[in-house]
């Protein structure tokens, strides 16, 4: 060891000897043999009062302090560094390290002084600036802290997680939009701005916890950098709206991007979860007027490249305005309007709320020129339009497969030890979960404004989005075909609703029931019954655990229907119209209600048996009620498709029934009944009857018919013209199966035939028994020959089938979709 250098004073020699003795004891295991012997030699010399120099001591202190820091002996390391800077006072790094060790051992004042000295020696020392900023932040010297953070950034601080750490501290102080300023600060290095942008995206993602679901990024689409940048601006604005919405401790209904949640949260829980709130206590009641103005301005200046977030801006605007309409009603599960509702604000002041409300109404009136109701509904509609545009902008289905760990979903494929699922399924689920509250709250807004038309429109939009989400699974299709068919599916779910037109179409003899079901923590079924004279909405809470309806469908569906008939309790939540019973009942089901044979419910059967109710027709959306009428003439050109490799289907029986009905019947049987042959024949006929097997392809979320050498899928039907009347006397022609967590379900062949131009489609809602198939064909065509229209013939056929059996599994399988007026 070199012992040259300045001489130590006696006092220094005593102090350093004590320090070195302590280090030698504590760091015995951390030193190499050479280091130990050097240290021993130095201690021996100091103890012997031999000449010792500051250089020799400095080297030892430097080595030992580093070892002590590595071993987590912060206090010892701090004292060693303190000795080091005494010997070598002009080295900024030593002061920085000293500051770090004091900070770690809780000596914040000493740490600050050390950083100050380090920065005095080297004013561009970015690490020291950042660390001092963190200490100042903890001491609530926020302005000074932010100044240090920005200086550190300007000097290219390359500490790991620097940008994230700064943004995470900056957001509670000044909000997301202010943090965004750093992304565009020209005084910062380009690389640093990019890091801040990524970090801000991450912290916005984190803000989704509890109830910031609308901050989610649009799933499944790779985007260019400039899209990300444009989107980030909008997301920051939205995140500030969330930040400015204080929440009170208590029972908390939340919804993150995956699930609903209910928790009892106290003040500390809230502060931990809502880390982005101001550090000095809960924020003041939000200035909703200012929020609306900001949202409006942001929407006006947003670019097309940011379209993946504009829906959320509209949603937030609508939700804020909805809070005005609700006026003190339960505020959940709309997160944005939490505490905008009186009684939940932190100051509890009613007067302030009323003033705020008045100001908000005035702002809407003067800036939008509309009422609060129109403003609210308009923004929800715009949100939905943006979502439709977005989902239709997908260029092709996702054909990737993703590997999973510990997922027990039903659509998994087990390939050896690797469990996989289609990425498209993941996307379809994510899409629906992403946007479901938009539609639910639009329906809520329609209820508060008393606008039946808006409710119907909202649910049309919802069904359309659901159907498009399901088509994300149509992976076999080439991109161009996929986009074309999706446009057809979207057109089928036309969301243009004119209540007067629908009521005029219903006339005196028909009623339409638009059903809706939603689940948050319990399940509700809500139905709007529309007649030519009025509209009535009724909502029914369904007991999820013991509910007859839910239990029935959780238990395994149609095969477990009670053989004696569906119990009256099942029908109760479906909110069917009471007196007067119409001649025609139009059902627009939603979600899993699509699986329920409304035509088999006791109330409906009674009306059929009384001769009051003549037709029960299911529609894909309410807007379909005013669509084309049933064919005016009997079909002349009839196509019969019969195929069954197992020999179970007595399709000759179906064919005989059809021939007895009359017309020019083209029979395509057995191995002749290929998909291509069927596709070639369909455009040339008025009626087609399928007697074959059918099923649901869960992996593609599509129903299909089993033909010679292949399957007839919905996209095969969408390819060309189809007959006006379609009878699928096969299983699951009406594919109502849900796929995993999405609210609605697969696109069935019935949807596809209607989208392709069919007017009336008849199919089975579940596995069609052979007996039912044959008996149905016999009676149905006899009824048609007698002059009944197809919906009427389905109802009367089922009435006749009930004389053979009360078991709905056998008699109620068929359902009629589409046009209903002769």
């Amino acid at each position: 060891m070199n012992h040259s250098g300045s001489q130590l004073t006696s006092s220094q020699r005593r102090r350093f000897l004590l320090l070195l003795d302590l280090a030698a004891t504590k760091l015995r295991d951390a030193l190499s043999q050479t280091e130990s012997s050097d240290l021993a030699e130095l201690r021996r010399r100091l103890r012997a009062r031999k000449k010792g120099t500051d250089a020799a001591v400095a080297i030892s202190l430097w080595l030992l302090s580093a070892r002590a820091a590595e071993r987590g002996h912060s206090d010892l390391a701090a004292h060693l560094y303190q000795g080091l800077v005494e010997v070598v006072p002009g080295e900024a790094d030593f002061w920085y390290n000293l500051g770090n060790q004091w900070a770690r051992s809780g000596e914040k004042d000493r740490a600050l002084r050390a950083y100050d000295e380090a920065l005095r020696l080297n004013p561009t020392f970015a690490w020291a600036l950042f660390n001092r900023g963190c200490l100042l932040y903890d001491r609530k010297a926020y302005e000074a802290a932010v100044s240090d953070f920005l200086d550190a950034a300007r000097h290219g601080c390359d500490l790991e997680q620097f940008a994230y750490s700064v943004v995470r501290r900056l957001v509670p102080l000044r909000g997301f939009v202010t943090a965004l300023d750093m992304v565009s600060d020209p005084s910062l290095p380009e690389r640093m701005r990019g890091q801040f942008a990524r970090a801000l995206g991450e912290v916005i993602d984190e803000a989704r916890a509890l109830d910031g679901w609308f901050l989610s990024r649009w799933p499944g689409t790779a985007r260019a950098d400039h899209d990300h940048a444009a989107t980030l601006v909008l997301r920051a604005v939205l995140a500030d709206v969330l930040r400015d919405s204080p929440r009170a401790p208590g029972l908390f209904f939340g919804r993150d991007h995956e699930r609903y949640d209910v928790r009892e949260l106290d003040e500390s829980d809230l502060r931990e979860s809502l880390w982005y709130f101001p550090p000095e206590g809960p924020p003041a009641p939000p200035d909703r007027t200012e929020q609306l103005a900001t949202l409006r301005e942001t929407l006006a200046t947003s670019t097309l490249t940011a379209s993946e977030t504009t829906w959320a801006l509209h949603y937030a605007s609508g939700a804020i305005a909805l809070s005005l309409l609700m006026d003190g009603a339960n505020d959940w599960p709309t997160p944005v309007l939490r505490l905008a509702v009186p009684g939940r604000t932190v100051d509890g002041g009613r007067r302030a709320d009323e003033e705020a409300r008045a100001g908000l109404e005035e702002w809407i009136s003067s800036n939008d020129g509309t009422s609060v109701a129109d403003f609210t509904l308009g923004h929800f509609r715009s949100a939905s339009d943006a979502l439709t545009t977005l989902i239709l902008s997908h260029r092709e289905p996702d054909r990737d497969v993703i590997m999973l760990m510990g997922d027990d979903g039903p659509l998994l494929t087990d390939q050896g030890d690797v469990v996989t699922r289609p990425a498209s399924l993941h996307l379809a689920q994510a899409l629906w979960w992403h946007v479901e509250p938009v539609y639910r709250e639009w329906v809520l807004a329609a209820a508060y404004t008393g606008r039946a038309e808006e409710r119907l429109a909202a649910l049309c939009h919802a069904r359309r989005f659901n159907a498009l989400a399901a088509t994300e699974l149509w992976s076999p299709l080439a991109p161009e075909r996929w986009r074309r068919y999706r446009a057809q599916i979207a057109a089928l779910h036309d969301a243009h609703i004119c209540l007067a037109d629908i009521q005029a179409a219903l006339g005196e003899e028909a009623a339409l029931v638009d059903q809706y079901t939603y689940e948050v923590f319990g399940e509700s079924i809500s139905g709007l019954t529309l007649t030519s004279r009025d509209s009535v909405v009724k909502t029914h809470e369904v007991n999820v655990i013991g509910g007859e309806l839910r239990a029935l469908f959780d238990a395994g569906m149609a095969s477990l229907f009670p053989a004696a008939g569906l119990p009256p309790a099942v029908g109760q939540p479906l909110l069917l119209p009471s007196e007067p019973i119409p001649k025609t009942l139009l059902i627009v089901p939603y979600g899993y209600l699509r699986k329920i044979p409304v035509h088999g419910l006791p109330l409906v059967l009674q009306a059929v048996d009384d001769g009051t109710l003549e037709r029960i027709v299911y529609l894909p959306t309410a807007s379909f009620a005013g669509r084309p009428r049933l064919p005016a003439t009997r079909p002349r050109r009839i196509l019969f498709i019969g195929h069954d490799p197992a020999g179970d289907i007595d399709y000759a029986h179906d064919l005989a029934a059809l021939r007895a009905y009359g017309g020019d019947v083209t029979a395509v049987l057995g191995q002749e009944a290929t998909c291509s042959r069927v596709q070639a024949e369909l455009p040339h006929h008025d009626l087609v009857h399928f007697a074959c097997h059918g099923d649901m392809d869960a992996h593609l979320a599509a129903g299909y018919l089993s033909l010679a050498g292949g399957r007839l899928y919905p996209w095969d039907v969408l390819e060309g013209a189809v007959p006006e009347t379609v009878v699928m006397n096969s299983c699951l022609g009406i594919s109502t199966e849900r796929f995993e967590a999405t609210s609605d379900g697969a696109v069935g062949l019935h949807d596809a035939f209607l989208a392709a131009g069919a007017r009336s489609v008849i199919g089975s809602m579940w596995a069609l028994p052979e007996w039912t198939g044959r008996a149905f064909a016999d009676i149905f065509y006899r009824r048609l020959a007698a002059g009944e229209d197809s919906p009427q013939a389905v109802t009367s056929t089922q009435r006749e089938l009930r004389s053979f059996t009360k078991d709905p599994f056998y008699w109620a399988a068929h359902a009629c979709f589409g046009a209903w007026r002769s």
């Binding site: 053989a563 197992a646 020999g647 179970d648 069609l768 052979e770 007996w771 599994f809």
Partner: protein, 225 residues
């Protein structure tokens, strides 16, 4: 009626719920019925019935199921194995011996009997002509026809399942008359919902022992996609 030495686990009367499920799904226009193959994998004769030396043995297999719209289908087969000594493994080849190939419907029952072969004794297909006119077989035919063409009734399905056992018993009795002794007999029965048609190896590992014979077989579902 003959006594069966070994009953497989499927020889138990299905519950009402099982029968209801089977009746409802027995003939639906969903996916075509699966095509199954039953294959004998291995058979070891422990005692051939002679005190000393080799013996000719015969293996009789009867498979009964609901069949097509015309009623019950019977698949009887007789295989002859000459010069079999105690402890011999029957020479059935590496691929096993195909006992049945078809699409079962409503139910699937299998009856297996290993006997000493008697010169001139008719094979099981010929014996079955006699059995077809017997009461149990006629009743079973009527029940299967009713299931195929009428409204599927769980009670009739239950009777039909039991009917197959009666037919199997009649076949064994007739066989015993011809061969005068059996080395080992076995029967089992499967349903779609309850048993998934018995697809898999029987037993899962090792061999089944039925008196003086041990064996294993498997039921395979053909992939038709």
């Amino acid at each position: 009626m003959a006594e069966w030495m070994i009953d497989g686990p499927g020889i138990a009367l299905p519950s009402d719920a099982v029968l209801l499920d089977e009746a409802r799904h027995g003939a639906v226009r969903r996916t075509p019925r699966p095509r199954l193959a039953i294959r004998l994998l291995e058979m070891v004769v422990h005692e051939n019935g002679r005190w000393f030396g080799e013996s000719h043995v015969r293996l009789d297999v009867l498979v009964v199921h609901g069949g097509s719209a015309s009623g019950t289908e019977y698949a009887p087969q007789t295989f002859a194995f000459p010069r079999v000594a105690d402890g011999d493994r029957l020479p059935i080849g590496q691929g096993g011996l195909l006992l049945f190939h078809g699409r079962p419907k409503w139910f699937l029952s299998m009856f297996v009997a290993l006997s000493r072969d008697v010169p001139g004794a008719p094979g099981l297909p010929a014996l079955l002509n006699d059995i077809a006119a017997s009461d149990p077989a006629v009743e079973l035919q009527a029940q299967a026809l009713s299931l195929a063409t009428g409204l599927p009734d769980p009670d009739i399905l239950g009777l039909a399942v039991q009917g197959t056992w009666a037919v199997g018993g009649a076949a064994l009795a007739r066989l015993t008359m011809e061969t005068r002794s059996t080395i080992g007999v076995y029967r089992d029965s499967w349903l779609r919902g309850r048993d998934s048609w018995g697809v898999g190896r029987h037993p899962h590992e090792g061999l089944l022992r039925a008196k003086d014979v041990s064996f294993a077989f498997e039921i395979i579902e053909e992939n038709e996609e």
